[in-house]
């Protein structure tokens, strides 16, 4: 962790890995797009360097260039990569293969794609030992068992014989870590090792990497988009922007006083640092009926109980957050609120109307008042539609077919107004969502949710697919819209920092039940339930929160 001195070892001083003036390009059509420009850094034994940056910043490209694992159209444009003083860039493939895995190994990004689905996980780890050690089959098997114990598996022989699909995401990532450390490399390149994992699993995996590093003195290059992870887990931080290393500094110093403007901007965008006035303590009571009133809601899928007796009340004009890890039932709850799936039992009142046992057809009149924003905006747009058609859909839905033509101009004006509310120019009307960036797409999705002037908006992980600085913009937009229009938000999220930034009340869900709920400041400040405390403990970026 921070401030730890590297473990004692007899190896010669000097960097284990040094990268000097590295430039990498990708062939795109007739030209070359430079993805990494003149990047230099050095890594001593036992050190952790976090490379952070937003998508397209070139951080993964650096990781792949070090191992010479660039995709077919990638090319080293200049610079050198040295391992213990020996230049390894440009070595013939055979010599590189000897280094990979033994000297420098990779923990790949996606554990689902990186394991062979038709081979037992044990033999996939065994491969590394077979290539890099002289051990016989028996000794290798024992070694794999040891490695599996090292990464925290208990029933190691059973795990050895399992196939990837029998393991959860966190377990698969452990298998990959076992393979990465099998030949006792000096450098591990961890490319987003925890993206896509639940917070508590993420914390376990990162703890594991940390633990291995401390025991063996391995140096780690941690590639991540999550500044919180970088701040918690590294000695050095390198910030990449459009292929350039704009800042390289010791982590503590970086967090305290970043020198580069862009780094400062990134740090200020982290949800843990976002602050919107009078949030979190519960607002003044509103007038009129509660926006959402859920009593003893249950949803069964066959034998599986997705939601198991949930009750909560959302007042008008507030943000009510439902947090939980994958499989906790939070998304199912959101889908019941928007009438996308019927509840098995229990009562749901929206704006004073009982909708618990309404059929999809009977629910329809309410849809003008209850809209939803999905996690992945692009998937929620009809691929044939332009922005105008996408945003106008809620309007058209409530207009009789015959008056469509007459209402076309009026609809267009309302769409423009909604786009402007979401900070998009009217010139976007005839653009196709495919041409837009992730943040712009999410704004289009928000415009669609607003165009019918709803009173309740369900936000299903609205920012989790976005880069951190865009996340901050979208959260600010959502906050402003709520104040201007008196909207009620039901926010579904796994990210406690996001929840803390824009919510008033929060419910923590686990295994289909709400284990704790209350005002955000109370629940996060003095969690009453162990599970909430675990979640908060697993939250990355505590070093960043400076409230």
């Amino acid at each position: 962790m921070n401030g730890d001195s590297p473990p004692e070892s007899g190896a010669a001083p000097g960097p284990v890995l040094s990268v000097a003036d590295l430039s990498v390009g990708y062939r795109v059509g007739p030209g070359t797009r430079t993805a990494v420009r003149n990047v230099s850094f050095e890594l001593a034994e036992g050190q952790v360097l976090a490379l952070v940056g937003e998508s397209g910043s070139g951080k993964s490209t650096i990781g792949h260039a070090v191992l010479d694992l660039l995709p077919g159209n990638g090319r080293l444009l200049g610079g050198t990569v040295s391992y213990r003083g020996r230049t390894i860039s440009g070595l013939p493939a055979r010599q590189l293969r000897q280094l990979r895995g033994r000297a420098i190994s990779l923990i790949p990004q996606d554990p689902t794609l990186s394991l062979d689905p038709i081979r037992r996980v044990g033999s996939q780890v065994d491969d590394v030992l077979r290539l890099h050690t002289g051990l016989d089959a028996e000794a290798r098997r024992t070694k794999v068992h040891e490695l599996f114990e090292l990464v925290g598996f208990h029933d190691v022989e059973r795990r050895y014989r399992q196939f990837p699909h029998e393991l959860s995401g966190g377990m698969r990532q452990r298998v990959l870590i076992a393979a990465a450390v099998a030949a006792e490399p000096d450098v591990i390149i961890a490319d987003e090792p925890t993206s896509g994992l639940d917070a508590t699993v993420q914390a376990q995996v990162l703890d594991l990497i940390d633990d291995l590093r401390r025991r063996t003195g391995t140096a780690v290059v941690l590639i991540t988009h999550d500044l919180g992870v970088a701040a918690d887990r590294s000695d050095l931080v390198g910030v990449l922007r459009q292929g350039r290393l704009v800042e390289l500094a010791p982590t503590a110093e970086f967090v305290r006083s970043p020198r580069d403007d862009y780094s400062r901007h990134l740090l200020d965008s982290v949800p843990a640092r976002l602050e919107f006035p009078d949030r979190g303590s519960g607002r003044a009571p509103s007038h009129g009926p509660a926006a959402v009133e859920v009593t003893n809601l249950r949803k069964h899928y066959g034998d599986h109980v997705a939601v198991d007796g949930v009750s909560f009340t959302v007042e008008q004009g507030e943000t009510f957050a439902v947090v939980g890890e994958s499989g906790s039932g939070k998304s199912t709850t959101a889908r019941i609120l928007t009438g996308l799936v019927p509840a098995t039992a229990g009562r749901v009142r929206l704006l004073g109307t009982d909708v618990g046992d309404l059929s999809a057809k009977a629910f329809r009149p309410l849809r003008g008042d209850v809209q939803i924003v999905f996690q992945n905006p692009h998937a929620s747009f009809d691929p044939r539609f332009d922005v105008l058609s996408v945003v106008a859909e809620p309007l058209r839905s409530f207009q009789p077919v015959r008056s469509r033509h007459r209402l076309r101009r009026e609809n267009r004006d309302r769409v423009v107004a909604a786009l402007e509310a979401a900070s998009l120019p009217a010139s976007f009307l005839h653009r196709h969502p495919r041409e837009l960036s992730g943040g712009q797409r999410q704004r289009v999705a928000i415009a669609r949710a607003l165009v019918s002037d709803p009173r309740i908006v369900v936000l299903d992980e609205p920012v989790s697919a976005l880069d951190v600085s865009v996340q901050a913009q979208i959260l600010a937009l959502l906050d402003r819209l709520q104040r201007e229009r008196g909207l009620t938000y039901v926010l579904i999220s796994h990210d406690l920092a996001v929840v803390r930034a824009i919510s008033d009340h929060v419910a923590v869900m686990r295994h289909g039940r709400i284990v704790e709920q209350g005002a955000v400041a109370e629940v996060f400040g003095t969690p009453a339930c162990d599970y909430t405390a675990d979640l908060l403990g697993a939250m990355s970026g505590r070093q960043l929160a400076i409230r």
Binding site: S55, T338, A379, P383, G438
Partner: protein
Amino acid sequence: MTTLDESPPPVGDTARALPRRTGTAVRRLVRHWSVVLAATVLAVAVLWALAPGWFTGASPTRIDAAQKLLPPSGAHWFGTDRLGRDQFSRVVHGARASLTGSAVAVLVGVTVGSVFGALAGWLGTWVDAVVMRLIDVVLSIPGFLLAITIVVVLGYGVLQAAFAVGITSSATFARLIRAEVLRSRTSQYVEAAVASGARSSTVLVRHVVPNSLVPTLSLVTVQFGIAIIWIASLSFLGLGAQPPSPEWGRLVADGRNYLASSPYLVVCPALTVVAVVLAGNHLARHFAERQER
């Protein structure tokens, strides 16, 4: 990694969008010369069908006993048949029957297939079960045999043959469309449409069916080629176009008695069929590959 860049200043991401793709379609076509060739072959065939007069001055039916069974020459590109009719003219004029027939066949196949496939996929439950078993029955009968049976019931003629081929192929279309409907009805944009308040019928007509038809485009092109061959085959057997009207399969049938002495009577129309079908299949593969991207 995506190439989508977000610029850091607030609202800055509105200013930077990916460049619009205009004009690249033309450039892409030029790069794929074989696609251009295939499209040209098809276009010529279609023009033959629409305006045969532009391509040949000779009448396809004028009998001239003095000019019978001539080999190909400058005056008669494909030679003349046993009654002295210009074979090239007959091939050009035959395009109308062959292509219209195939178009009708594909249209019938897509329409009937879409209705059944969409109903099965959208309604599910017993409708799905009944429709799918019906499709299984149709698919279990050899296709060409089924087409012959239908023609025999309906009577002989190009349109009847086309209808028969269409009905036979509708089972394949129904299956594909049902799968596509199942896929798109669970997609998020359909869910988003439902959540935004769209009626169930609107969702089906506006989102599900159009998005299910796009992937069938490549099958349509393949089916077009198959239909040309089947209709030609039915005509060859005498079940399709009736003499003296020219049709490609009919021409091959007429020419087969002179295969030894005048092979061009069979070869020329047969090669025409092959060229058009190959062109259609090539375009189909091109569409399929573009979809995967």
